[in-house]
Symmetry: none
Subunit: 414 residues, 2 copies
Amino acid sequence: MKTEIITIGDEMLIGQIADTNARFMASELSANGFEVNRITSLGDKESDIVGCLEETAGRSSFVFVTGGLGPTEDDITRQAITRFFECSWEENHDVLERIRDYLLERGYDLTRLNRDQAKTPVGSKIFINPTGTAPGIWMKKKSTHYVFMPGVPFEMRRLMRESIVPELKHTFIQKSYQHKNIVTQGLPEAYLAEKLKDWQGKLPENLSLAYLPTPGIIKLRLSGRDDDAELLEKILNEKIEELKNIIPDYLVHVGDESLEELIGELLVSRGETVATAESCTGGSIASRIVSVSGSSGYFTGSVVAYSNAVKMQMLGVSQKTLDHYGAVSQGVVEEMVSGVMNLYNTDYAVSVSGIAGPTGGTKEKPVGLTWIAAANRKEIMTRNFLFGSNRAVNIEKATNTALNMLRQMILKAD
Amino acid sequence: MKTEIITIGDEMLIGQIADTNARFMASELSANGFEVNRITSLGDKESDIVGCLEETAGRSSFVFVTGGLGPTEDDITRQAITRFFECSWEENHDVLERIRDYLLERGYDLTRLNRDQAKTPVGSKIFINPTGTAPGIWMKKKSTHYVFMPGVPFEMRRLMRESIVPELKHTFIQKSYQHKNIVTQGLPEAYLAEKLKDWQGKLPENLSLAYLPTPGIIKLRLSGRDDDAELLEKILNEKIEELKNIIPDYLVHVGDESLEELIGELLVSRGETVATAESCTGGSIASRIVSVSGSSGYFTGSVVAYSNAVKMQMLGVSQKTLDHYGAVSQGVVEEMVSGVMNLYNTDYAVSVSGIAGPTGGTKEKPVGLTWIAAANRKEIMTRNFLFGSNRAVNIEKATNTALNMLRQMILKAD
């Protein structure tokens, strides 16, 4: 069923907030087999809202609208409803009771009761709002169903989950939709696309693949629709098995977990610990590890060694190695990784030294050159990379690559 | 000028990500006087994209489009451009060179060079992408200007900031529009709004104020329109002087620089240095300092001391202080800050210890409790905070607060 989402609020149009309401609704709707074709954000302007509603009538089966239903002056969705549906409003007993309860619950005086708020469009289906006053309103024009909800995120979410979706399930939800996320690391988008070209070309019609690239990590999303949910899951799993054989070295895992969450799970299950020694990443590997709740169980700490003096004094990097090979070298990251593992007495460690840029590069060692080492008590794995010229991107790529090398090192112990 | 934003990508329509690209573009555009009327998100479907472009032709003066310009199969914005503008594509020498450089910089083989990627629409204005391969494309149909950009956030952001907006400024941005950004730190949005209520109420009609909140930092944007640019600037400056008197303790500065950039400027001009000692922030203060190019000139390094053992061993925190007051205490952050300043021999240091949550809180020390110390060689300034229950938000609030305390400590030396 063709579906659209409309979110209303000036704050999105000036970039004050990202449209997280649309994201929530899109996620709930697609998880229930609705095909969302378009999301539109509009300001608090009656003519814009009416114009957009008119565009959708007949074009889509469902239009879900949030925002502008509250009692304040800038909430003009109610006026837009009147104009678009040419409807009148009448007092709704259930809504009036709900508003009365709401005021009493909060200890407010009933003189505050604005009976206008209890009016709903004649002929509409109403969904009582359990956490606010503005109800959900369901109406139909041409062949299109319209569902209006308040824009306060927690009110919309509860209405959606507890009232709207169950009602939809009752009558409209048929087709099954599923998707799987696949995390890959180490191949740029173009190269990955090249490797997956044949496989992607042979995907069944009802499956589709999307690339979601961030610096150093590309997520793939394989999604599909089929009336037979079991068959669909089977096909998705088969295709992912094929994928594992095509990019065994780059496929990190299938699921929604981040690299730092995967590392956390591995270390918790083994009762092992890790530390980091960071130069150009400046603590960003450590902060990613710490972003996981419970990381105090396996993360001891980090030495951010930005200056050569600190590399020597704290991590035992030798003057000789620095003089001979420079701070961005295999020798230095290997001494750093051993140094921090001994200093913090951990089972694993990872270290990075690179030229993040945009300045500081030379002909022999250009901006983007980065050495990374991951180690356990017996072995050090060292690799070098040539990232790009953007400082922030280089740091993020180095961080993601280091986390993946650490993860490989832990898995190696098996 | 009426403006629309179109973002393209299936991932938004299934609710996998919120549309942060639209937020960034809306913010940049309104900061430069563009009136964004509508944001539309579409999937990777040629007919939907062409249909939406057709709706906008003549309706708005500017349409900014991101997504679907990359080399992979699901990027079909290029096909939509061909159909909508009825244009042909030709190889663009500059883009080809850029792709070649991009591959060479990364040490990739030139046989991988896909010359199709170097083709651009005949008659379009091209903006080279400094961090990727897909260029920005500027075309016109009816009275509407169309600007197409890649959807990878960091690529779009740099293109927008360094190429598109400067080009817009050149010809389209009205002189009559101006804005000032004001960075505040330390007051939640509701409290700030309360303090500014009277001042805001008395702003002239042609001035408006927007709140742009992130964890621990609230930016204010004061913008105005007036045919007399000099007068407008004078009024904006007067209003900001008033603001400085209303929130002297919370106004960090007027301008676009981040806290870490301001700290960098101060330290460079003084020839002084800084180090950090971090527990719950786990390196995120250090990584913010390092995000500034040239930070190697004043940042020595950091000790991320997540475990008590590391706090004692590396930073000289005493067993007695830990036993008596616990790891999250005034005594511990003060020993941490002195410890790292001595260890790394710096002029300043900052330290943090807190309960980031969501677990680990007690009745006496609830989740969100955070101690922060900033120090120079003579003095330590220590404060405690009770942030919220969200781990990521707490870490970001602690990081922003610590950076601001460090900045205050440096300014105190005057």
